[in-house]
Symmetry: C2
Subunit: 256 residues, 2 copies
């Protein structure tokens, strides 16, 4: 189902927007030749980092502060296949005392929209691990980069609550899960969530929309469980549970 | 230990060599900020594919034939860290009725060698799965691209035979393991091999040399086992075993 057909890339790029060209590399694609959702998520985070650093509010500027991803929604009309070129735009739309909103748009080389994403971030002090008001740093300069008029045509994060969860996956967090921050990489969760579905399911279904909520970190050696419940046909709620029983991640996956 | 300090990048690139510039992206790095060996392996395969396709002996030219990786050895004096730029060269040195040799060199921006790799490939008919003599295709044109004078200063593949193997890892092959060819991705094996070591071991050791031999494919749903034996201090033999008891991969890892 194509929903974004009528959305076209703006002719001019506003200075508040960063646009980068990406190629879907063969080794970033799954068995169906489509770019994987986890790799696409990494591209989003990379471009977000470049956008923020170039405007002096990235982690390279802040040093003792860091942006922490709280919610991410990605919705794709079509996923690029190997060797496809596409462009990825990102910008920020609003900020409050606790959260900052960042949007993403993806276009094919003809300028037709193929997907959008929206995300919510907290700025935290790396020492105290407490959130900071983003307007309290750099004399509130972040405000000038907000671009609320440029909106994405997808629904924001939804509420995820399971009533009859079933355990479908167990995994001990290991070396290749762990990123620069010392905990399970936020995009690696997406791989684990997708691994809860048999290859045959992936053969006959395409992930249209990913909604993911991050609430706690996992570390090397943690045995994680993934619980799952079907909410509607091909719409799945999942929860990654830490050894202490707390949720690390909740997610809603919509296949078509 | 630096072994490659005296090796410098040639000023001129021979037309038989392809050189590509690479950046170590943050999401391709492990907890120690170094590029992971699996991602480096993907870069090698990508550049090898580009080199072969540009010279009309890549899989995009052949269609019904494919290059299959049989052996790969990578040895790194130093591994790039996040945001590092490096250049990657590849070329072929020799071919025989069954096997073709391909070499790789990696240089830092100052032209100092940081690592080398050597690999052995078979050309197979995708329908019969049987190897083909590479001189029998395209009127033997491959021969003109051989560059035997440009050698790499590392030892070739070694013999790997365990006498007292210990099972250290089990894994059911899943969605994110499977690549475009429908089997466990050759570079994903490297991740699984490295996951056989605790994070604490990775904290205090660096993988200097990887030697890997591919002998059979693994498919989604296969429960693989990894056996391991220490050959010498910090030198490990590993074997990935398929459900039928046959070896899919054997490997020798040298840490320092």
């Amino acid at each position: 189902m194509k929903k974004f057909e009528s959305y076209r890339q703006p002719k001019e790029t506003d200075s508040r927007v960063l646009k980068q060209e990406i190629v879907a590399e063969p080794f970033h694609c799954d068995f169906s030749t489509h770019l994987t959702m986890g790799v696409l998520g990494n591209h989003l985070l990379n471009v977000a980092g470049n956008h923020a650093n170039a405007r002096n509010f990235g982690i390279e500027t802040f040093k003792t502060l860091s942006w922490v991803l709280s919610r991410l929604v990605i919705e794709m009309d079509e996923m690029p296949v190997q060797h496809d070129h596409f462009s990825l735009e990102t910008w920020t739309t609003s900020l409050s005392r606790l959260f900052t909103n960042r949007e993403f748009a993806m276009y094919n080389p003809e300028g037709k929209a193929i997907g959008f994403a929206t995300s919510i971030w907290a700025l935290i002090d790396l020492e105290t691990r407490r959130p900071l008001n983003p307007l309290s740093v750099n004399d509130g300069q972040l405000k000038q980069y907000m671009y609320p008029e440029y909106t994405v045509p997808i629904q924001g994060p939804g509420h995820i609550r399971m009533t009859a969860p079933e355990e479908v996956y167990r995994h001990v967090v290991c070396y290749s899960d762990i990123d620069l921050n010392g905990h399970l990489n936020s995009m690696r969760y997406i791989e684990h969530l997708l691994n809860c579905f048999e290859l045959d399911y992936h053969r006959t279904h395409r992930l249209r929309r990913l909604d993911i909520a991050y609430s706690a970190e996992c570390y090397a050696g943690d045995e994680i469980k993934i619980l799952r419940q079907e909410k509607a046909p091909d719409v799945w709620m999942l929860e990654v549970v830490k050894p202490d029983g707390k949720a690390a991640v909740k997610s809603l996956l919509e296949f078509e």
